[in-house]
Amino acid sequence: MSSTAISVDNKSPWRGGVGPFKASYGKLMMWFFLLSDAFTFSGLLITYAFIRFSASAYKGPVDEFVFSTEYWPIPEKVYEAFPGFHGVELPLVFVGLMTFILIMSSVTMVLAVEAGHRMDKKNVVKWMLWTIIGGFAFLTCQAWEWTHFIHGTDTATIADVVVNGIWIDNYEIYGANLTFNQYGPPAFAALFFFITGFHGFHVFSGVVINIIIFFNAANGMYERRGHYEMIEKVGLYWHFVDLVWVFVFTFFYLI
């Protein structure tokens, strides 16, 4: 047994005791999880862009644009509502606010991680609280946006649709559901619900995790542990949610 042919000297990484990539186990696994999650979102965005670019596009004058189920809508004509400004066209203003909220909550998360490095419990708790408030604000905005999207505008789009298995000619479509919508082809609303919904669910779970971490930090769990690495790991997840939003924003609201 002692005369084994393979000699492994004590400095070899295979002897153990060395962190791969000089990162802790938890952080590394979070990175790999985020990579796989990025693949999932990539799949959704590929589907979106593929359907969008193979659908009929509207090439006429922008100011004469009307919604029709025959071609893909211009995004800034769809997303132009703002709470409290009924009937006023404010293209992309609300989604700009949502982007700002999410980026700000990412910043407060970085500040919480930074305070954690300095063992500054008071500031960790403070910035985690701001991050949670930002997450809730974003979810509230999204709930309003979905409600508006589902209820629709004051103007109906006329199309031939199937309702409860019966074909109806010249049906007045208001708003959107999973079978048809007033804004464009049926796939448009279905993709909107699926992709922003999947992102929103990530935000929601992020907020839940942030709340758990907030209470742990406030109760001094990480101070007793001697480090605030958990804040960093959860921070990675939270930034990822922001990162995905940057892509959803471009593909859904700009292109």
Partner: protein, 126 residues
């Protein structure tokens, strides 16, 4: 019970580091603002889409390298994460741009050159 936490030393904050964080936030806000300017001044088309995607990648770069700290990790970890993403972006561009238009041509889908004639009507009470 209290003495467990009494020996924790809070380090003072480094103002340069805090400023750096806010600087990245400012850059993200400015790039988003530039996207808005392009969205309302430029005609729709492939050039605009390329600009949007490029600016998005700039923003993603700042978030990943600064906020997620990947730019400060060891090189091998950086590439472990970045290389698969680069291949995925390649796949997105190939599928969307080439396959999407190929399917569109194959189906004979026509673009709409004028607004649809489907009738719309105002219904104030909705």
């Amino acid at each position: 019970m209290e003495q467990a936490t009494s020996n924790v030393v809070v380090q003072p904050a480094d103002p340069a580091k805090i400023r750096g964080i806010w600087k990245v936030a400012l850059i993200l806000a400015v790039v988003t603002a530039i996207e808005y300017v392009f969205a309302f001044t430029m005609a729709k088309g492939m050039l605009l889409n390329v600009i949007f995607v490029s600016l998005t990648i700039v923003k993603a770069g700042f978030i990943v390298s600064e906020f997620m700290h990947l730019g400060h990790e060891v090189r091998s970890l950086m590439f472990t994460i970045l290389l698969p993403m680069i291949f995925i972006i390649w796949l997105i561009v190939a599928l969307v741009n080439i396959e999407g238009s190929a399917i569109k041509d194959g189906r004979g889908t026509q673009d709409a050159m004028e607004p649809a004639k489907t009738e719309h009507h105002e219904d104030g009470g909705h």
